[in-house]
């Protein structure tokens, strides 16, 4: 087991280097540097431009900038934002809990609905329910997030007045962040009304962000279940006279879960990527919205640091998923 973890951690190093290099390069390929996007029609005196470029380290050759950056990252310094002049790490730490809270709720939403829907669809293969789930999940998978978010806002918030349009908490409340997770912080200070407000603010963004993972989980569960259901041991179980619930719930589902868990792990990346759009629509103060602004302002350190930290989160989740395989399927544990 330890060896497995160490091998996986070893693989992480080139992944990190690759990500750092790509982010570093891609944002620099976008026309306009941080100074140019700020200057506008007014233009800038060449001496002042040179001075600013020197201050920001942009006068160095690219390879030098890259090496400096990697060196700093290795010593734990992600730099300071060119715009706010705060440390990238502290900005990320302030905003990440909001993203995590939303992503967690979206994941919960997609698994709680997607898993049973997929199982049922497989068990009732060919029924109207199966067709319905498959049709809806295809629609969900192809849903443009921006459009979907606005549609839900217009219907649930504007027409029906059931949910707030955007934000994280009603403006009546001001909760000092402790953990940064609004649901927890409101309870910590004993504000149940604020807790309900936070929960209501989560509903629409959760649905929007959870739609694609929900579709993926439902489809994957269905196909994995179908495969397992045709196995000999299921026939044996049935022949033994086991009740249907036990056959499906114990024998089939547990084996079908392995690919599903993989897919859920992969969806973490989708969730954090999807958060960029969802957060922008719902004015959700998380890292997604922050990254968009960093791109617009060509805030290189913020963007590079943000992407690197998100990548760390995704890699960590995938590692956990790999370890979870063993829990679901002892064969994998032995094979390694």
């Amino acid at each position: 087991m330890l060896r497995f973890i160490l091998t996986r951690l070893g693989l992480v190093i080139p992944t990190f280097l690759g990500i750092t290099f790509l982010t570093f390069l891609l944002i620099r390929l976008v026309p306009g540097d941080p100074i140019e996007v700020r200057v506008g029609e007014r233009g800038i005196a060449p001496e002042r431009l040179a001075e600013l470029r020197r201050e920001m380290g942009l006068d160095q050759p690219l390879w030098q900038q890259f090496l400096d950056y990697v060196g700093n990252v290795l010593s734990g310094d992600l730099g300071t934002s060119l715009v706010t002049r705060n440390s990238v790490l502290s900005e990320f730490a302030t905003l990440f809990p909001a993203t995590l809270e939303l992503a967690f709720c979206a994941m919960l939403f997609s698994v709680l609905i997607g898993l049973p829907a997929g199982v049922l669809a497989a068990v009732k293969r060919g029924s109207w329910f199966d067709h319905g789930v498959m049709g809806l999940s295809l629609t969900g998978y192809s849903m443009p997030i921006f459009w979907w978010g606005l549609l839900l806002i217009l219907f649930f918030s504007v027409q029906l007045g059931l949910t707030p349009v955007s934000g994280r908490l009603d403006l009546l409340y001001y909760i000092e962040p402790v953990t940064g997770f609004m649901l927890i912080d409101t309870l910590l200070v004993g504000e149940t009304d604020a807790f309900w407000s936070a929960l209501r603010h989560l509903i629409l963004p959760t649905i929007v962000l959870g739609t694609i993972p929900l579709a993926v989980v439902a489809r994957m569960t269905r196909s994995a279940m179908l495969e397992v259901l045709s196995e000999d041991y299921i026939r044996t179980a049935r022949a033994k006279g086991l009740p249907q619930r036990r056959v499906i719930g114990l024998h089939a589902l547990r084996n079908a879960l392995i690919p599903v868990v993989t897919v859920i792990g992969l969806q973490v990346g989708t969730l954090l990527g999807g958060a960029i759009l969802t957060e922008t629509i719902f004015s959700w103060p998380g890292v997604g919205k922050w990254l968009i602004e960093s791109i617009n302002r060509r805030d290189y350190p913020a963007l590079q640091g943000g992407v690197l930290l998100i990548a760390t989160a995704v890699i960590a989740v995938n590692l956990i998923v790999d370890l979870l395989y063993g829990v679901f399927n002892p064969r994998i544990r032995h094979a390694r």
Partner: protein, 531 residues
């Protein structure tokens, strides 16, 4: 833990349940478009960042609410010496500083604060010069380092500014956001604590609203402050950061916010029909134009420039490109600016006459030219490419074959300023509301050098003398006459095809009263009230 009851008007069920005890507290929620960089206008260049510091700070002088006229601020009066070089400001007494977490001011605003605020931007030896990146773009752009000779304290309530040259727009510069006055006492306090950067994150000013809290990328809170100005009608001011225009509109409909800027042009018609909303509009302090490079043939000939002015259907372009959010321009300065010459008549759209002019100029069959279009959306031009295509089609009708050229934005600007183009589109947004900021900066001889902002490279002695004289005259009546005359020469000589001034819209809830749109495009709430 803090819990703030912000009062009525938020429209949500939960809010209503809790708002009961806060009866009369008036809270205005402004759905702003983005997050500020910090809370110090000296360091910023964007309207989004200026908006968040305007409630907190005062300047020596300020722009009249909703206008470009300069009125007293922290200085209750000022005098200018005969030679126009020495400005002496009398500061008002009783300008209290906001108290904030840990800092309790012991004195009112005085001359030390004024000197501190300017020296921070001006002098490298000031301990705050390098704090928060220390990039004072506007201070430099308005040429303050060249202009200022000295700033001296005469007594606690008198400050003397001495200039290196006469510059009438100087007083308007002092009303710009970058010239905000910060507290030296607060600065010293933070230095002693070892956290100087807090001065730009937890702002302390003398303005109508006191900063309460900022939750990054989400909410900014202020409360009313009774300083030297009377207490604002609002008790609380909240900025709810909402980047998407469609979502801001949805929040206006549900009552989650009371004022929003920058609506989608496509929503304007629907907004007009909403019974609970009011739509305000105003020409922005900007101009979009097509510049003829007069150093290149055939645009050195005024007849050709006039012909092109007549060949392009301005009205059609404004309708198609601005979709209701623009008005045709005839002068290089916007109509909201003082000295705008109303009497000037624009060139008519007359392609037959244009063709005739071209023939007279020796181009009966037209000619070939380039036509540069911005690659980005700008406040004065939402779609330069589309505009260029319409111009291209109009020009083709008089035999002029225009080839549309685009570069990456930074490169584009640089090349235009070098004069690499023949026909080039650009525009300008005003800084200090002074006509000099358009007429001299964009069309003066000094700016016609390669790399200068006069991209027509047009240098007309008669015109230049007028705007230079206006710059050196402090009497506003005399300056108005000079600028009006300058606009006449501009129109005759036609170095530009003046395209349009964009129109800016604001959406307000019917509960809001007393809001005035600001010609500079920033948003001020000190005089707003709510029903």
């Amino acid at each position: 833990m803090k819990r703030i009851l912000l009062g009525a008007g938020l429209g949500m069920a939960a809010a209503l349940a809790l708002a009961a005890p806060a009866q009369a507290a008036k809270t205005l929620v402004y759905c702003s478009e983005g997050s500020p960089e910090n809370f110090n206008p000296m360091l910023n260049t964007t309207g989004t960042s200026f908006d968040v510091s305007l409630p907190v700070y005062n300047n020596l002088v300020q722009f009249e609410y909703g206008g470009t006229k300069v009125i007293p601020g922290l200085a209750e009066s000022w005098t200018v010496s005969e030679d126009g070089l020495v400005y002496t400001f009398k500061l008002r007494r009783g300008a209290k500083w906001h108290p904030t977490g840990g800092f309790q001011p012991t004195r009112e605003a005085n001359a030390d604060d004024v000197i501190f605020s300017f020296e921070r931007q001006w002098k490298a030896e000031n301990p705050y010069h390098k704090v928060s990146g220390g990039s004072y773009d506007y201070f430099n752009d308005m040429a303050m380092p060249d202009l200022l000779k000295s700033i001296e304290k005469v007594d606690d309530y008198t400050v003397r500014f001495t200039l290196n040259r006469v510059e009438a727009p100087f007083i308007a510069n002092l009303a710009m956001p970058f010239a905000a006055i910060q507290s030296k006492e607060y600065g010293d306090f933070l230095l002693s604590k070892g956290t100087p950067e807090k001065i730009d994150q937890v702002p302390v000013g003398t303005g109508p609203f006191q900063f309460v809290a900022y939750q990054k990328d989400a909410v900014i809170r202020y409360k009313a402050f009774e300083g030297w100005q009377s207490k604002p009608a609002l008790d609380n001011l909240v900025f709810a950061i909402t980047p998407d225009a469609a979502v801001r509109y949805a929040k206006m409909k549900t009552g989650e916010c009371h004022i929003m800027p920058y609506p989608n042009p496509a929503d304007l018609e629907a907004m007009k029909k909403e019974p609970n909303l009011q739509l305000m509009e105003q020409e922005g302090l900007n101009v979009g134009y097509l510049a003829f490079n007069v150093t290149k043939k055939p645009f050195d000939d005024v007849r050709v420039r006039r012909a092109i002015n007549m060949a392009i259907d301005k009205k059609a372009i404004v309708e198609a490109v601005y979709q209701g959010a623009g008005v045709p321009a005839k002068n290089p300065i916007p109509p909201t600016m003082w000295s705008y010459n109303q009497a000037i008549e624009d060139y008519p759209f007359d392609q037959a006459r244009a063709k005739q002019l071209l023939t007279e100029a020796g181009h009966p069959d037209g000619f070939e030219t380039d036509l540069w279009a911005m690659p980005v959306q700008r406040p004065y031009n939402p779609n330069a490419k589309r505009m260029a295509e319409m111009m291209q089609a109009d020009l083709a009708k008089i035999g002029v074959k225009a080839k549309i050229v685009q570069y990456e934005w930074g490169e584009y600007r640089k090349r235009l300023q070098n004069g690499d183009h023949q026909l080039g589109m650009l525009g300008w947004t005003g800084d200090n509301g002074d006509p000099d900021n358009f007429l001299h900066v964009l069309l003066g001889c000094e700016a016609a050098r390669p790399g200068g902002s006069n991209i027509s490279k047009w240098c007309n002695k008669e015109y230049d003398d007028l705007v230079l004289q206006a710059k050196r005259t402090t009497d506003i009546g005399a300056r108005t006459k000079l600028y009006e005359q300058a606009q006449v020469i501009f129109k005759e000589e036609a170095p530009w095809f003046t395209t349009a001034h964009s129109v800016v819209h604001m959406v307000l809830s019917n509960k809001v009263s007393g809001y005035k749109m600001d010609p500079f495009g920033v948003h001020r709430f000190a005089e707003v009230d709510m029903k």
